[in-house]
């Protein structure tokens, strides 16, 4: 059941209504049942996986907490079990396929059989939550004793499929608050859901029509087309994923829960380091706490830090998908982060450079450079193979005579068919303007909530109604999936 499906628009109000109507003591159990039902609407059999992993980690947490001597051993064992489960579903096919390739190159006739393995939805997210739980319990946080509360932590339906990655210390106490239905939460929840749907349906899906048709065919594009498509794809992924997150936050708010923020206008970051503080925040914090820090973080000198950053982001790339293209995507981010780190070291030693980097114009330059640097990483992220990515890069960087012959002619708006092609540049311009306005409003309310002064609050219902009408008018006939569901 996707957030942008009609089924969810029926499911959610029913769950919210029942949740607030039943006595408080039954609410956790009810939410767990609803969350498991939500999961089973995709592939019922995989409920076994989430239940088994939950049971395993529940007992593992309690044992790690109680055990005084071999707790590290238990922790490692539990982590290995979680990672192995994730690796099996996510990487077994890739590993066997790669092994067969290597064997074939080596001239060996042995080939391991390949079986289709269907990736359970949300597994990356709930396994990351389990890892966080086990490590934190090992470090001294009290384990969750109530089995229903523990079970609800990874399965909570608003965040079940694509996060944000929660921390149990934030989530579980919310189950104890004898929350009453709160008008502000309901209004905020509805606004976040409508805004999230708008981002997904009106922005991301409209751009996807152009991107899906054009990006896999660099030979049909000019250099400026290629750059615009990359910018558009960056925006599509952002609006798709942040739209999902807003719907998740909104759904949680309707139930009186707060879930972590995941995005904070990342495309206005002045550096790639800042970008990762604003993009998929719950994942970056997870990577920092459970991968980068355990590797040694930045405590052991510049070279070790550079190594740790590269390892962390290469693994982050691999987390996005089993394939060399994703590894390259992650490694490029690692490389950019290290370049930024070295640059910062240089700047810190030069008062002149420090002054320069503090100017507004340099900040604008930084924003543009950062956005384009991350856009470039998306070539391998979006395209299915490296050969195609290579051809795309050639066009992008004007490396072929054909690309050099007419690099700045924009051809996408001339494509016959849906109005999306003609509107493409207008759309991108509108998004840039939207970002600049959002930046002015940043910090005035929670992201996704339109900040209106008290005197203008009367306009809020009209704003919400306009969002709803736009969604009704422009919702696609099908239900396109969210980009991050594949991870």
């Amino acid at each position: 059941m996707l957030f942008n499906s009609a089924a969810y628009l029926v499911f959610l109000p029913i769950v919210v209504a029942i949740y607030w109507l039943i006595p408080f003591k039954y609410r956790t159990a009810f939410l767990l049942v609803a969350s498991y039902f939500f999961y089973m609407t995709w592939k019922p059999i995989y409920i076994v996986l989430i239940v088994a992993l939950t049971a395993f980690n529940y007992f593992a947490g309690i044992i790690i907490e109680k055990e005084k001597v071999r707790r590290k051993l238990y922790l490692i064992g539990a982590l290995v079990a979680n990672i192995a489960t994730l690796a099996y579903f996510k990487y077994a096919y890739f590993a066997i396929d790669s092994a067969n390739g290597v064997l074939a190159i080596a001239g060996r006739k042995i080939s391991y059989p390949l079986h289709d393995i269907i990736l359970p939805l949300g597994i990356s997210f709930f396994v990351f939550e389990f890892i966080h739980y086990l490590v934190d319990v090992y470090k001294g946080s009290p384990a969750v004793k109530a089995p229903l509360e523990f079970a609800l932590f990874p399965s909570f339906f608003p965040t079940q499929i694509a996060g944000p990655i929660k921390r149990f210390q934030d989530f579980v106490p919310q189950l104890h608050l004898p929350a009453k239905i709160n008008l502000k939460d309901i209004d905020e929840g509805v606004e976040l859901i409508l805004w999230g749907l708008f981002k997904k349906v009106i922005v991301a899906d409209s751009l996807a029509i152009v991107i899906d048709k054009c990006m896999p065919h660099p030979e049909m594009l000019t250099t400026i087309d290629c750059w615009m498509l990359l910018w558009a794809f960056a925006i599509q992924v952002y609006f798709d994923f942040s739209g999902y997150t807003d719907i998740a936050r909104g759904s949680a708010a309707l139930l009186g829960f707060k879930v972590p923020l995941n995005f904070d206008l990342p495309f206005l970051a002045g550096s790639i380091t800042e970008y990762w503080r604003r993009w998929h925040i719950s994942l970056s914090l997870w990577l920092r706490d459970y991968l980068f820090f355990p590797l040694g973080g930045s405590k052991h000198g510049t070279l070790a830090t550079i190594r740790n950053v590269m390892i962390t982001f290469t693994i982050a790339g691999l987390w996005h998908g089993a394939g060399l293209n994703y590894i390259i995507f992650g490694a490029m981010h690692g490389l950019w982060l290290n370049c930024n780190r070295v640059w910062r070291l240089i700047v810190d030693k030069s008062p002149a450079l420090t002054t320069l980097t503090e100017t507004k114009i340099f900040h604008v330059f930084g924003v543009l450079l950062t956005f384009n640097a991350l856009a470039v990483t998306l070539v391998t992220f979006r395209l299915p193979n490296l050969e195609l990515s290579g051809r795309y890069f050639q066009k992008l960087l004007v490396l072929t005579p054909e690309a050099a012959s007419n690099p700045i002619s924009l051809t996408i708006p001339s494509i016959e068919g849906a109005a999306n092609f003609a509107l493409f540049p207008v759309f991108l311009l509108a998004i840039v303007i939207g970002h600049l306005i959002s930046n002015q409003l940043r910090g005035k309310t929670a992201p996704g909530i339109l900040p209106l002064p008290k005197s203008m609050q009367i306009l809020k219902p009209a704003y919400l109604a306009a969002l709803a009408i736009l969604l009704l008018l422009f919702a696609p006939d099908g239900t396109p999936s969210f980009v991050y569901f594949q991870f």
């Binding site: 009609a6 924009l410 016959e416 003609a422 207008v426 919400l464 109604a465 422009f474």
Partner: protein, 425 residues
């Protein structure tokens, strides 16, 4: 001295009566009270009011449904061609690409000129064959075959386009096993032809058979009640076209031609599967000797991977309705069992094929309409096929010959063809 300061008063111990837990009704009441004063609820009210105002005024009320911008799909082009006929046609052939392709390719052979199927649906070869077998017969013959067409689409064509000016004398339903049981559709209302033709008629009475699963049914009902959903495609098309027109002057001199607009041979070969086609994408040329065989075995097997009983039963209802609709409009319906290649028949389970043939025979008897089984004639061989199911020009010639001979010989169709009156009662 009197102190003006308030005296410290010892707190009074009061016994708070134990509050009874709120009842379900009380909780329900508080939920209603809160939502009524919520901004989200007020927004919902605004949407309802706007919807009501639009339902009452209906800005699209006087707009010709066919004048609205839409995807230029196969059904759109064919409908345009059909509605522009100056007189009611004599014979309309209905069916899927199995029919459309072969008859069109033979048309190029017959006329000895290129034929663009997108804009030229008249089948002069059938007209000439009818004249040959039935001297004196006149009238236009029209190939309304559509890629992926189901019997339910044939019904929609008969219901919406066979109007006073365009009622044919005879409608020939050329049906292969796929046309009643395709496994790639969720329900009858899901085809592009059905969705397009819906604009010409009120389909409330078809709800239960057009949308057999829950969600499409709910979606249909939403369209009935929510104006924004009902007119979604119209609004999108109108706004899209307006945006394009407004931007055209801005783009003059800024944008260049796109290579995506140049159709490759690959695009043309798979134009069947496209939601939008353009003139020139599918041109049949005469005297083309080709022995190439396109291996679509995977797709063919997929289509017959299961018997799809539910779809078959549903399409059988549509077949009943189509025949009844034709009879009611004074049209003679003819059922034709389309040929399947030797290779193709191997992958159709025998019971599925038998079910198909038995159904056509049963329906022909029920509605007293002529039935032709092209497979019995034994005239088709693998040379007539360009893949597992589709025929080429030679197959098209044979199928048209069989149909023409039959129409000329059967008393029910013969009398209609030599009848000077136009179609209809």
């Amino acid at each position: 001295m009197l102190s003006t300061e308030p005296k410290e008063v010892a707190p009074v111990q009061t016994i708070q009566p134990e509050r009874p837990a709120p009842t379900f009704a009380a909780r329900l009441g508080s939920v209603f009270k809160i939502t009524a004063s919520s901004k989200a609820a007020q927004a919902a009210l605004l949407v309802i009011l706007a919807n009501w105002a639009l339902v009452v005024t209906n800005p699209f009320k006087n707009v010709d449904p066919d004048s609205l911008p839409t995807l230029k799909s196969w059904v759109w082009w064919t409908t345009q061609d059909y509605r522009q006929l100056k007189e009611s046609p004599s014979v309309v052939l209905l069916g899927s690409s199995l029919l459309m392709n072969s008859v069109w390719m033979q048309e190029a052979e017959h006329l000895q000129q290129n034929v663009d199927i997108v804009v030229n649906r008249r089948t002069r070869y059938l007209e000439s064959m009818l004249s040959k077998y039935l001297p004196g017969s006149k009238g236009i013959c029209f190939n309304f075959g559509l890629p992926g067409s189901m019997v339910s689409d044939d019904y929609m064509i008969a219901r919406t386009l066979f109007d006073k000016e365009h009622t044919p004398k005879i409608v020939v339903l050329c049906l292969g096993p796929r046309d009643l049981m395709d496994t790639s559709f969720s329900c009858a209302g899901a085809t592009s032809a059905f969705r397009y033709l819906e604009r010409f008629t009120d389909t409330k009475d078809l709800l239960d058979i057009a949308y057999t699963s829950t969600w499409p049914k709910i979606n249909f009902m939403l369209r009935e009640f929510i104006y924004f959903v009902d007119k979604k495609h119209h609004s999108q098309s109108v706004l899209g076209e307006q945006a394009k027109s407004a931007l055209n002057p801005v783009y003059q001199g800024v944008t260049g031609p796109s290579k995506f607009n140049v159709k490759t041979d690959f695009d043309k070969q798979f134009a069947f599967y496209r939601s939008e086609v353009e003139k020139g994408v599918f041109i049949a040329k005469p005297n083309v000797q080709t022995d190439s065989f396109y291996d679509n075995g995977k797709d063919w097997k997929k289509r017959f991977k299961n018997s799809n009983d539910e779809m078959f039963d549903n399409q059988k209802i549509w077949l009943n309705k189509t025949l009844a609709e034709a009879k009611a409009k004074g049209i003679v319906p003819v059922l034709v069992n389309m040929p399947v290649s030797e290779l193709g028949i191997k992958y159709i389970p025998p019971q599925v094929y038998k079910r198909h043939v038995d159904t056509l025979v049963e329906m022909a008897a029920k509605y007293d309409c002529p039935y032709v089984d092209t497979m019995k004639e034994g005239q088709f061989d693998m040379k007539d096929f360009s893949d597992y199911g589709h025929m080429d020009a030679s197959g098209g010639r044979k199928i048209v010959d069989i149909v023409a001979q039959f129409l000329a010989s059967d008393s029910r169709t013969r009398s209609r063809l030599i009848d000077g009156n136009g179609g209809g009662l």
